[in-house]
Symmetry: C2
Subunit: 162 residues, 2 copies
């Protein structure tokens, strides 16, 4: 994908494909989350499993790991997009959105909206007919956010840890 620049809050931001050098900053965004899993301490000591995941994402064109950087290059947002072909709905391709995070100091200012709106256009450009994501049932602010962006909370998301 090409880098996308946009202005917000009087600053300039760049939305682009994540690079290996961004992994540590992405991990920090994932760790700075009230609902983080117990594995995600605020200071992960070993980046190796994250780097392995990064390369698994990076080598398959079905996946796109996105970051948003501010004007000095600090990574302040991330999301992961996956193109999912399927037979349902007349063979409709879906775009799955995972791991949406915005830096705590920038939340509620429209950055997340810019990211999701861009993801919708990205999916449309690839011919996707449906974009889908799940959000923890306790994240009421996130639910309002997705509904404002036109999403419908039509499903229950089930998880099983192995």
């Amino acid at each position: 994908m090409n880098d996308i620049s946009f202005g917000l809050l009087g600053g300039s931001f760049t939305l682009r494909t994540a690079r290996e050098a961004d992994v540590s900053a992405i991990v920090d965004l994932l760790a700075d989350d009230d609902l983080r899993s117990p594995e995600e301490s605020s200071a992960p000591e070993d980046l190796a499993p994250y780097l392995a995941a990064f390369h698994a994402i990076d080598r398959d064109s079905a996946h796109l790991l996105v970051v948003v950087a501010d004007s000095v290059g600090r990574v302040v947002g991330t999301q992961q997009l996956t193109v999912l072909p399927g037979l349902a709905r007349s063979g409709a391709t879906r775009l799955q959105v995972e791991a949406v995070r915005v830096s705590a100091d920038l939340r509620g200012n429209g950055l997340g909206g810019e990211m999701i709106t861009w993801a919708v256009e990205y999916g449309r450009g690839l011919g996707c007919r449906l974009i889908q994501l799940t959000s923890d049932a306790t994240r009421n602010d996130a639910h309002r956010f997705y509904e404002r962006l036109g999403f419908t909370p039509s499903h229950v998301g089930f998880k099983l840890f192995l």
Copy 2:
């Protein structure tokens, strides 16, 4: 994957990778659904978009389209599995389950449970640490089914049609 044979209801069933010749039967299973989308008539006239989706699934090893056939080869169940790498949860790989369907005449007899239990073991064998799916909020029977199998309804599933 290797074919898996199992007995149920005094009959024998085979769980295997879907082939192109199964597409029409899979479309019939998707169409035989109270919640089917308007595009999915009970008699789709044109298989071309479904075949295109089948080939998109079949050519990427991240995806596995599964069918269950009965002892005379009739396709009576289907599900689609996708391996999703990700940085969250210490770089945990997820298995995403989509488009789970069981033939109406065999529902409530344990066939769906065999399919999902097999999917869990398949994910475990690939090193996945999480298996996830969404179910329409109105499908109370399906919700009880997934909870019996150990899934937690921890998330809200959002969709946006493009």
